[in-house]
Symmetry: C2
Amino acid sequence: MKTAQQTNQKNAVLTKIQQNVLNVIREFMENNSYPPTLSELGQALHININAVRDHLHALERKQVLRCIPNISRGIELLHAKPEGIPIYGFVPAGHPFMSQENIVDTFEIRRYISASNNVFGLYVRGDSMKDAQIATGDLLFVDPDVEARDGRMVVALVEGEPTVKWLQKEGSTISLVPANKKYKPIVVDKNDENFKIVGVVVGMIRAMDKLRIDKMVNLKKAS
Amino acid sequence: MKTAQQTNQKNAVLTKIQQNVLNVIREFMENNSYPPTLSELGQALHININAVRDHLHALERKQVLRCIPNISRGIELLHAKPEGIPIYGFVPAGHPFMSQENIVDTFEIRRYISASNNVFGLYVRGDSMKDAQIATGDLLFVDPDVEARDGRMVVALVEGEPTVKWLQKEGSTISLVPANKKYKPIVVDKNDENFKIVGVVVGMIRAMDKLRIDKMVNLKKAS
DNA sequence: TCAATTACTGTATATTATTACAGTATTCAT
DNA sequence: ATGAATACTGTAATAATATACAGTAATTGA
């Protein structure tokens, strides 16, 4: 006989069978685009639907899923599996830095670079931003929706040619300053029709594996 | 009256109403963890369930979804929406670089840095890798499963202290070379117990927004 | 103008799926 | 040893869903 009030047990440990039920649900949802019904779970687990029901209610009490009443396939998995990869603190920081407690963040690009929905990537070629630690092959994240304030690194179109430079505003003139003494700043008028700021550089990524470098060389040849 | 054979129309254009039905299905699935039933769609669209059915069959013929027979909520959307953000070619490359055809890749971190499942992130502090274009605040992707060959950038533990350096192998000795003339290489024996290579640096990401910099300063204070 | 497609309504029916009720048996902590 | 949670079986009622059949009406391309 079913007993009455069963208290909420957040973060309670799952039994082996409950874990198994959860795994079967996950597997089903990976293969099927819709959650399983009670009888489908019963078949998969070789048990009666009411046993399945008991398990689902237990899993609900333990906060790993939610059952929506009177809805077919009304199972909602909570705690959506963390998608990102772990990010540890500074180098050099503390000694046992590769521990669970030292994960200061999880890698999730949009959150990291806090960009709008219009961000796009752009590969860098040339050494004009060398002193800003930006090299050929680097991938820049450019956000058109971020305000291009003085001092920010921007991507601009000068007479149709895209370039990455520091932005420097002085009255009605705008200077596009490279981070390399070898090159001179480009000075244009604020209202120059041949000049347009595409977006602000909000992030950067660099691949250090040979495969990517080869790919970039191929791209270079193709262009 | 329903007419007989209706040919497959892959890539056919959706009518306005069909597009609307698809949008409602997408919206429902974003909010609900399970696909909608016919009557739920009927309610949302203010039409009879058999009208919904007709639309679903039309969408099925046009290959945008699949209806699984005799299965409640048996709707499977095809052509899963592209998750990544677009990545354009080199800068400077061609003039109209922000066009659909110039998307050379889509941003998806794991594919980009071609790393194992054990990659982790690590923030950099200090200027010892300055000449390799790596600065304080940069986030390194370190892969413990990549072979630490001569010349690669590695994260090593020297007497418990983690450091980022170039790896240089010479016979039985290993040199950890900084990319900054201000600092001297660390030379250790191959079998030194106080020395361990944690992983190879396979990628790097840099955030250029102020918020992140503030966060990093806070982390610095806390450590 | 004719066939095909689109866009619906309405009633009915079969199937699918959830819920309810009534048990049995085991384990586990107090 | 007693209450509570776990782990099941079985039958039945009810609600939720999908499907079938029979239409109507407007639009579109050949």
